[in-house]
């Protein structure tokens, strides 16, 4: 059931739309990622959820109750800030216990110990915040936000401040902590990997609008727009004409199978989006010339110039050399028509 709902949320700054008519729902206990490039309105959406910004129009509902008019203080949402915003004058235990002012000292201590254990930092209460590594600070920030048992947890670019080498591990730990806490979560990221690894569902934003919302698989396999297709995963785009529900004619009369879609008018122009792993070298098909070859280990990324564009594909290293004339075919599962 939908626990957190966002209905027609709109926010303008100086007549410029930051968030435009966004409607979303998050099921209780699941994790939603807001994915988009910078300036897409994802952070503004998160701040509207937290109550730090007021929407011009639209509502935020928790468990069916409108909380749009409530302040951040009364909303009882936990927030993890991009730069963590740990209080530098307080130690780890005092930071985590900050939101527990209503409880008795014993209950407070117990809860602090409990959430610190949840993020794998048991016994860190007396440490100074400045003594901690980046990853540890991030986990303290998560523990602090979880301590008062928030109704919703919000995270702003939770991993962007970490070294790339630390990110994967921290990502796993964060997901484990969220699962254990069982809290409904929304987080913001501009990295598709992070969104896919941490979230149950992903909402892709662009210029303040919601482009598509779905599971990682749905976004990858059935992108609704050209933007989603290219922003989520690697993709090449070829222009052509949709001649049947499941066939597109490309340059030089070559026909490729595409996944059937109701979004594009038959007989009209179409953009065919193909994933690198869907394209293969073949004895016949779309002709082109290899212009680049990048080794990634056992396989390589090839760039092939074809009439009307460039195609990226992944193939065994010995598939072709730079300068070779080649032919390309595609598997229909990963070629989809999108309206131009």
């Amino acid at each position: 059931m939908t626990f957190l709902q966002v209905v027609n949320l709109t926010k303008r700054f100086d007549e410029q739309f930051a968030v435009r008519d966004v409607t979303l729902g998050v099921t209780r206990g699941t994790v939603l990622a807001l994915l988009g490039p910078s300036g897409s309105g994802k952070t503004t959406t998160l701040r509207l959820l937290a109550g730090f910004e007021r929407p011009d129009t639209g509502q935020v509902l928790v468990d069916g109750v409108d909380v749009t008019a409530e302040t951040p203080v009364s909303r009882r949402f936990g927030m993890v800030f991009q730069h963590y915003a740990l209080f530098p004058h307080l130690n780890v235990g005092e930071n985590v216990g900050f939101g527990l002012s209503g409880r008795s000292p014993e209950a407070r201590r117990a809860r602090v110990a409990e959430v610190l254990a949840l993020v794998d930092l048991a016994g860190f209460e007396a440490r100074a915040v400045s003594e901690l590594s980046g990853g540890q600070q991030q986990r303290v920030a998560v523990a602090r936000a979880l301590a008062p048992e928030p109704r919703v947890l919000l995270l702003d670019e939770p991993l962007s401040n970490l070294d790339p080498s630390l990110r994967e591990r921290t990502r796993r730990e964060l997901r484990a902590a969220l699962d254990k806490a069982g809290v409904t979560t929304v987080f913001v990221t501009h990295e598709q990997d992070e969104a896919f690894a941490l979230a149950d569902r992903v909402a892709v934003l662009r210029d303040g609008r919601l482009e598509q919302e779905g599971t990682a698989r749905e976004l990858y396999d059935m992108p609704a727009t050209l933007f989603v297709a290219t922003f989520v995963g690697r993709a090449s785009i070829l222009r052509g004409t949709l001649i049947a529900a499941d066939r597109a004619r490309l340059a030089e009369g070559v026909e490729w199978p595409v996944r059937p879609s109701s979004n594009v008018r038959q007989g009209g122009p179409v953009n065919v989006v193909v994933r690198p792993e869907a394209v293969r070298f073949a004895p016949a098909g779309l002709p082109g010339v290899v212009t680049e070859c990048r080794y990634t280990g056992a396989r390589a990324f090839f760039q092939v110039e074809v009439a009307g564009g460039t195609v990226e594909l992944e193939a065994p290293i010995d598939g072709a050399r730079v300068g070779d004339p080649v032919f390309l075919t595609v598997s229909s599962a990963h070629a989809f028509p999108v309206e131009p």
Partner: protein, 543 residues
Amino acid sequence: MRGRPRGILLTLFLLWLVVYPLLMVVLDSVRGPSGWSLAQVAEFGRTPEEWQALWGSLWISMVSVVFAGAIGIPLAFVFERMEFPGRRILGALVALPAVLPPLVGVMAFLFLYGESGFLSRIVKGAFSLEDAPWRLAGAPAILLVHAYSMYVYFYLFTRAGLAKVDSSMIEAAQSLGASRSSTLFRVTLPLLGPQIIAAALLTFMTSLGSFSAPYIFGGGFRVMTTQIVSTKLNGNDAMAMVETVALAVVALVGLALFRWTSSERSVAAVGKGAPPARKLEQPVARWLAAVVGWAVAVVVLLPHATLILISFVPMRTWTTQLMPPVYTLGNYGALIREPERLRPLINSLWMAVVATVAALAVALWAGRAIVRRRVRLARVIDILTNVPWAVPGTVLAIALATTFSVNAPWAGRWVLVGTFFILPLAYLIRNIPLTAGPVIAGFRQLDPGLDEAAASLGASRWATLRRVTMPLLRPALLACGALAFATAVGDFVTSIVLYTFETRPISVEILSALRQNDIGIAAAFGVVLMLVSAGAMAVGTSR
């Protein structure tokens, strides 16, 4: 925008506090017994004494800047750039005139260099003179006190500036073939320009508003501050208003001139940091620097030492001897035992505490409004918090005396003159620039995310202020609070105009003790003030 009404409330409050009284003075200066009149202004223009006083204020201030700079800047170079025995402790001692409230400093000079002061007695004894060899009076006496108490501005500002001058710039100049002296004049001093101008401005404004030195030493020499107070005491209120406006205009013109000259020279020197102090290798140079350092420290500390010594001297025991013959703790006992002596001590302390707390509260309010809420009136609020700084204390005192001697609640005027409220109010207004500047700067350095983090954890606005903002601003709050407290507790210039017998502060009591020739009691009060100020400063700079 939600921030708007809040900004308006603070703006109105500050306008009422710092601008409204000044406006009342301006209005009163062109108002006669029967409506608007320029009669007083014309009379001011016709009277040569008034012009003498105005000119006196002006030239004393300009010469004070030159003297203070000539002492402070070289001292800063010696202590920042040369390494010699005792550098650290001497470098701190040299800033000590700053803890001497103006009237106390003047009193110490009187005891030390005055007609019957120590130096005069020594000279008299050495040459068997009948009369005192000199009189400490007039412009030279005023300049001596100004140079002593204001070189500290140049010293501290220049040292701070030197510590920020990038050593790679100096190395660059030297690699281009510049000698040490040409590096000094072509690179270092120009880089210090903003600091030196800031110190000059501070010295100029402080001298212009200086009251204690001309009041005690002036004699026939006229400056505007003392002129205003004596006109006011003579009952010629209308003329006092015109004089007050004249002094305020000179202050504002001076401020504008300094702002104008310094507006184009903001030099950012960031990089490797300052070069280390040069270790003086030659033993002669080392000893010379140390001797100069120690000599300066002794001269600087003599007034303090004199004050302490005299505070142990009972009344009428020191007549013609070179040194006082009797020392007791009687004066300090009197301060505590006699209710009439204890009263001013308690008055000064509570009024300074109230004014300081209120000034810190206003500063926090302004900081939040300007930095956090980014209200539309931020610029106006920022300027208003600085206004009292540009207004000489005498001007402010007269303005408050005028505004709050009328009961017109609808116009924001109440009769406060003669009540307990007027002096803390005056101290508060004088303290606002001292607290608002550092607190606003502190707010700018705070991560706004911390406020939001506290809010997301359920902390209310007050809880966030108490649990997050104030602890993080603690160093700034302590430092500027201490400065504000020390300024208020030693205030003389506004107190002399606004006090009543019931609310008389220490400075006024010192003056009356001096008039009764009770120098021991006056000195004991001075020592207490000095210790309270020094204690506040020590707390303020502790980390």
